[in-house]
């Protein structure tokens, strides 16, 4: 199927007083109609900036944006601000992390929805109101027509996120970008919201980009996963592949740091050592090397490229460790060994002190 959205080698840099922030560096991905791409990463990994750039919301005097964002074959990076306005909230809609602060506190819900509808559809106010009520009902808000006259503070967090979703979907977008849509919500509400997105997606055949730091969320709803680190995609592939045979040490770290029901209670979670690097002074070589338990001398100097793994062209990874060794390390980690032990077993001759520090 022809991709709906094709991001090619997208790079976003911001010039600030402290230096040049390399927020997004050479990111490429595609999304087909009706499918869901999960973009996973820590805060500051560039996952939000890359999607805001797709929407043209990072354009600023201090921003330098290169690459291509092809939506339906048209490069959005070259579109004028006026053209982008017809795209935003129309064919591409976006919902945000914090429903508490994402709705204007002083306007009624109805007005905010009507505004969105009338921005993209030439309809009367009454028709737009009908559409707004219809959307509220669709996202499961009871007594929708009356609720149009409510203010955001009269809704709970989960309900507000439903309103945001209604607002995003009211113009039948072909693509929905959901930036951490469940992060600010209770776990039970999270499940409802994800279920809602999935149901609406299948009903409306919308493509979805789901940005999250929560692997549990991507496991629920996505088809493909891109793992971002320090402004780059370090691993990308079909969801099942990423969970069954992850290739990048950072992905391993993410997977091992989530609690699971089937791990013994006394087994500690393994956090990823260190903190995300500064996007102004990025590490040399592989950007993950200062935090990688399996670091080799060449990782410090050689910057790996995104390469497909053997026998699977859909699964790509940015790592210098040979494929066979990666397989062994993951097997060790899956068996419950610590990264330090796994590193030694894999024959990586690191200073053991440093490696165990990293564990």
């Amino acid at each position: 199927m022809a991709p709906l959205l094709e991001v090619k080698d997208l790079t976003v840099r911001f010039t600030t007083e402290d230096g040049v922030v390399n927020a997004v560096d050479g990111v490429s991905y595609t999304v087909e109609p009706g499918r869901t791409l999960g973009i996973v990463g820590e805060s500051g990994s560039g996952k939000s900036v890359s999607s805001l750039t797709v929407m043209g919301l990072t354009r600023a005097r201090n921003a330098e944006i290169t690459g291509e964002v092809l939506f339906d074959g048209k490069n959005l990076l070259e579109a004028s601000e006026q053209e982008m306005r017809t795209v935003r909230g129309g064919p591409i809609a976006m919902i945000f992390q914090d429903p508490m602060s994402s709705l204007h506190p002083m306007y009624r819900i109805g007005r905010q929805l009507v505004e969105a509808v009338q921005m993209h559809q030439k309809v009367s106010k009454a028709a737009a109101r009908d559409r707004a009520a219809e959307m509220l009902a669709l996202v499961g808000i009871p007594d929708a027509r009356r609720r149009l006259d409510s203010y955001p503070h009269e809704f709970s967090g989960g309900m507000r996120q439903r309103v945001m979703i209604a607002m995003g979907l009211c113009n039948n977008p072909r693509m929905l970008i959901a930036d951490e849509p469940t992060t600010a919500l209770d776990v039970t509400v999270q499940a409802q919201i994800l279920e809602l997105i999935r149901r609406l997606q299948s009903e409306l055949d919308t493509a979805v980009i789901l940005i999250t730091h929560d692997l549990g969320v991507v496991a629920e709803v996505t088809d493909d996963i891109a793992v971002m680190y320090c402004g780059r995609i370090v691993e990308r592939g079909p969801k099942d592949q990423i969970f069954a045979a992850p290739q990048h040490p950072y992905t391993w770290g993410l997977l091992k740091s989530i609690p699971r029901l089937d791990t013994p209670r006394d087994q500690p979670l393994v956090p990823i050592a260190g903190r995300p690097p500064s996007l102004i002074n990025r590490p040399t070589g592989c950007h993950f090397h200062p935090r990688c338990p399996y670091v080799r001398p060449e990782c410090v100097t050689v910057d790996p490229t995104l390469e497909p793994i053997p026998n699977d062209p859909t699964h790509v990874v940015r790592c210098l460790i040979p494929a066979g060794e990666r397989k062994r390390i993951w097997a060790d980690l899956k068996a419950g060994r610590t990264p330090a032990v796994a590193a030694v077993e894999a024959g990586i001759t690191n200073d053991p002190e440093e490696a165990s520090d990293g564990a």
Binding site: L57, R88, G89, S101, P105, Y107
Partner: protein, 317 residues
């Protein structure tokens, strides 16, 4: 809401009582002109002064004077009579009030509009040459005292003394008759009074706007595809609300008398009245204007608080 307003009004009454007591104490403790002496003429005799004191009631014990003043005030809403010219203080205040209100309302419209427009443009074009010039001159106007600015403007533009005689100058208002003539005469005082306020409001709105424009709901507005103008309107809706509070209090204070502006331009308003009363040791009038100021501030702040509940749907009493 109803109980809230009643509670506020009761507090206002208590506050007014305290204020009149404080004014009375300050006037009697601090050295000030003896009203009897001022009234007695050029060559007063001790008997004459004593007679005037008796007539004014200032020979009685202080506490008795306060008591009778308060009695009149509370039961008759009577502010007493001026020590200087024996006219009824309440009547004088009400007589002067329209002049002050005319001055303030015109100035408030100017400064609020100018402040909002300049502040909005500055925040939208942050860091531009416009922003720098606007904020720089704002600082200048905030620092410029009204009496200085009043004199400078008079020197430059007044039609009698000015280098560029464009506008009616000092005393023009007192001489003018009819709404349009008076409004014309007030252009200069309006500008002078509004200058510092407009500057403060512009800076306030600019910083409010800069904060609001970084809010998530502004990003939502942009993500909906709204054009820049509508996005700014969304921001302005939030940024302007705190300004209304400030506006209410400023107007309240000024209703009690724009002393400097009224003095510079010889506008017979409440400020001018207080100024003269203080100079002449006219306790009754000072009491009256002070109480009136306090009442104006209390009422406008009440109005602002009630209004706020309509402006910001999250606020409930």
């Amino acid at each position: 809401m109803g109980t809230y307003i009643i509670r506020r009004l009761l507090w206002t009454i208590l506050l007014l009582f305290l204020i009149s007591a404080i004014t009375f104490v300050i006037f009697n403790i601090l050295p000030s002109a003896d009203p009897a002496l001022l009234r007695a003429g050029k060559n007063p005799t001790p008997e004459g002064i004593a007679a005037i004191r008796q007539q004014l009631g200032t020979d009685r014990p202080k506490i008795e004077q306060f008591w009778s003043y308060m009695k009149d005030l509370v039961f008759h809403f009577n502010f007493g009579r001026s020590y200087i010219n024996d006219v009824d203080v309440k009547a004088t205040i009400l007589d002067r009030l329209p002049n002050t209100l005319f001055l303030i309302s015109g100035a408030a419209v100017i400064w609020f509009t100018a402040g909002v427009v300049i502040g909005t443009i500055s925040s939208v074009k942050r860091g531009s040459i416009w922003d720098r010039v606007a904020m720089g001159s704002a600082l200048l106007f905030i620092s410029a005292p009204v009496y200085w600015l009043g004199l400078v403007v008079t020197y430059l533009f007044s039609d009698d003394l000015g280098k560029f005689p464009l506008l009616p100058g000092v005393g023009a208002y007192a001489a003018a008759h009819g709404f349009f003539a008076q409004a014309h005469a007030l252009i200069m005082p309006w500008m002078v009074l509004a200058a510092a306020f407009a500057a403060i409001y512009a800076r306030l709105l600019r910083s409010n706007m800069l904060e609001v424009m970084g809010e998530d709901y502004i990003r939502t507005a942009r993500a909906k595809g709204l054009p820049g103008r509508s996005v700014i309107r969304h921001g302005l809706r939030s940024a302007i609300t705190p300004l209304v509070t400030v506006l209410g209090l400023d107007v309240g204070i000024l209703v009690g008398g724009a002393i400097l502006t009224e003095s510079v331009f010889s506008i017979p308003g409440i400020g001018r009245l207080s100024f003269d009363a203080i100079q002449r040791g006219d306790l009754q009038t000072i009491q009256g204007t002070t109480l009136f100021l306090a009442l104006a501030v209390c009422l406008t702040s009440l109005v602002v608080d009630v209004l706020y509940a309509f402006l910001d749907p999250r606020v409930r009493y």
